[in-house]
């Protein structure tokens, strides 16, 4: 756990974060699986015991991948492969992939085979000439880090192995963009955010060449070097990818988020004010400020009219003390949205990831909206309970996990906007943009009402003042 309220200089000298108490995040293997399942017409081969393959199945669900379009194989390693090494088994499973009509097979390694020294890169190199598909080995054992580390590992693997290193400047496709790590968001239906961004970019006259990754074709990947811009859709990872794209293929960040461009860094467009700033910055960069202003005016008008017509009673937010427990992709812009748009007071922020680039962004955002919440990164569920116990907020913005914590801590309002959320959704609902702002408000409003749907919880919320104080009836 990393307390951002402490001076920057001491943040890293105090050593690694505390041990994983009930981690929110899954391992690097899962992050890599999330990434490669976003490639169409390919096969994901998990070189792992069969339990790890469950993470690949979960990744299929996260990417909303069609099982008929993207295939899955597992080497189902057992004790024999751990003792003797599993390279022969891997080779056999690669042969099995001939049964599929795919252009590429992504070979992911789990912890076991990496620990016993299976050299998947060598196996893939040896078999490359004999199989009718490209083999892409990605060494992403779970112990290499969190799912965000896995996303970074896999993105590097894809870019290094599927995109040619030009050596000399390539012909650029004017106004083309690469979108980085849209799938890293904890919005349970994050493809909605991706669609919103694609739509906005199209209105600005930009063409999305490829998303890294979601429904991405191999041919799109191979053409990545010709893109003009990149655009990060996460604050949790992808920084290395942004740098790699710039260094190797001269793909310029559209809205820089790297530490080198601190003054230009912006939170993602979640919330009324953030969306306006994000659109206006795009307009400045692309020299289309009038268009951006028009989008802002139209969007704000739409959101305000909608709120007025529906009579959304969101006054309960006014002045409320709020704790945000989320990934950085949502937590960072939520700081501004809560403080600026809803006029409440963020008192605590627990961010699941801990990318070094995050710290300056969070601090800048707090300074901008003049708030000083307790901010911690790399939190697990245990740390979250500690944060909530100390902060005693009126409202939690988080996930289903915090709902259970809140019941123990006597915090009445838990608004569930980030994964995991026990809600069935048939359509992707974006959080980005003005429509996304209304989506968030709708979720928050419904969860607020849910508080009163149980007699016990109704009484608790009614008689207690939200900080667990007062007399319970």
């Amino acid at each position: 756990m990393n307390d951002l309220s402490q001076p920057m200089s001491s943040e890293y000298s105090e050593g690694a974060p505390s041990a994983c108490h009930d981690p929110y995040l899954r391992c690097a293997f899962f992050g890599a699986a999330q990434t490669v399942t976003g490639i169409r017409r390919a096969c994901v081969l998990s070189h792992s015991p069969q339990g790890c393959d469950q993470l690949v199945n979960t990744a299929f669900g996260w990417q909303q991948t069609d099982y008929l379009a993207t295939k899955s194989l597992c080497s189902k390693l057992c004790e024999d492969e751990i003792v003797h090494g599993g390279e022969a088994t891997l080779a056999k499973v690669i042969e099995d992939a001939r049964a599929f009509s795919v252009s590429a097979v992504f070979v992911l390694t789990a912890c076991g085979p990496e620990m016993v020294g299976d050299d998947i890169v060598a196996v893939c190199q040896e078999m490359a000439a004999d199989v009718p598909f490209q083999l892409v080995p990605i060494e992403c054992a779970g112990f290499r880090g969190t799912q965000y580390d896995g996303i970074d590992i896999a993105l590097h693997g894809l870019l290094n192995q599927l995109v040619e290193n030009p050596g000399e400047p390539m012909d650029k496709i004017p106004d083309s963009v690469i979108l980085i790590a849209p799938h890293a968001s904890a919005n349970p239906s994050w493809p909605g955010d991706l669609s919103w961004v694609e739509d906005i970019l199209e209105r600005f006259g930009l063409t999305v060449l490829a998303s890294l990754t979601h429904g991405t074709g191999l041919e799109q990947l191979r053409d990545i070097g010709r893109a003009q811009y990149s655009l990060m859709l996460t604050h949790d990872c992808g920084y290395r990818t942004e740098t790699l794209l710039a260094d190797r293929w001269d793909i310029r960040p559209l809205l820089p988020t790297s530490a080198l461009n601190r003054s230009q860094r912006l939170p993602l467009p979640v919330g009324f004010s953030n969306t306006g700033r994000w659109l206006q910055r795009l307009g400045q960069v692309l020299d289309k400020e009038d268009l951006a202003q028009k989008m802002v005016v139209q969007g704000e008008q739409f959101a305000v009219e909608q709120l007025r017509r529906q009579g959304l009673p969101y006054e309960f937010f006014n002045g409320a003390q709020v704790a945000i427990l989320a990934d950085a992709t949502l937590a960072v812009p939520l700081l501004g949205m809560l403080a600026e748009d809803l006029e409440c007071e963020p008192v605590a922020v627990g961010i699941r990831s801990r990318a070094p680039e995050l710290h300056a962004l969070v601090r800048d955002e707090c300074d901008r909206v003049a708030i000083s919440p307790r901010i911690e990164t790399g939190v697990g569920v245990y740390e979250t309970a500690q944060i909530l116990s100390a902060a005693k907020p009126d409202v939690i913005i988080g996930s289903n996990i915090e709902r259970h914590l809140a019941e123990d801590l006597g915090i009445p309002y838990v608004l569930r906007v980030v994964n995991p959320v026990a809600r069935f959704r048939l359509t992707n609902r974006e959080y980005f943009g003005y429509h996304g702002f209304l989506n968030l408000m709708e979720i928050m409003q419904n969860d607020w009402w849910d508080t009163f749907r149980s007699k016990k919880r109704h009484n608790r919320a009614h008689w207690l003042d939200g900080r667990g104080e007062g007399v319970e009836p």
């Binding site: 003792v83 003797h84 016993v116 020294g117």
Partner: protein
Amino acid sequence: MLNPDMRQIAIYGKGGIGKSTIAANLSVALAQGSKEIMQVGCDPKRDSTRNLTGGRLIPTVLDTLRDCLRRGRDQHSIELEQIVFPGSAGVHCVEAGGPEPGIGCAGRGVLTAIQILRDLDAYRTYELDLVIYDVLGDVVCGGFAQPIREGFAREIFLVCSGEFMSLYAANNIARAIERLSRRGQARLSGLICNSRGHPTLEKLVLEAVAKRMGTQLVGFIPRSQSIGRCEVEGITVMEGAPESEAAGAFRTLSERVLATEGGVIPAPLELEELEHIYRHCAREEGS
């Protein structure tokens, strides 16, 4: 019927120090004393029992298991006769086997092999009095400590010479035993010296180190050309030169091993202390 008093001892020590030689001769010496002995080689090289089988390398447990798996069967289809072979003086010989160099996990393999022996009820079937595990090299990772961790190797003897690096390795193994004693029943039963030809210094150093660790020097095997000659023939010195000084030392060792039950949680030394003891003994020997 399983002998309730069956003992399981493990021989650890620096690579090349003579563990297999000592294990094989100890096995024969104990067997000649009317004990039912099994020696389990826990090294992928599978040469621990070579001197018990006339120089022949016997099939390993893990190779046999792999054959079964390839035929769609599991370990329960293995017959004990496929993996346990009669050796000199009736010692039951087993080689765990393991992966090829550079891949796989040898430590896990050793544990798998021992578990197969247990699952197939080998200890009960042969009514063993004592099992000797001849474990490879140093404890270099958690995998090689598996026989200790899982409670198979309960009484551990460390083989060393008077050479400093062998003491260093023995001390590291003592550290592992101390760590693993929290969970299992593994204890250090003593040091065995396989002499390199400096008996005075070796005895001084090893007795001092053993005392500091909280244990004792249980055996001293003198340097002997007869041991080397017998190894070339693929036999133990107990058979090839039964009247030799070395054979006598192995008989004495077997008696002490039988008399040494239990053991201690060792107190490993810091490197500086080990160096200090060594220098002190070297000066004492010189004077």
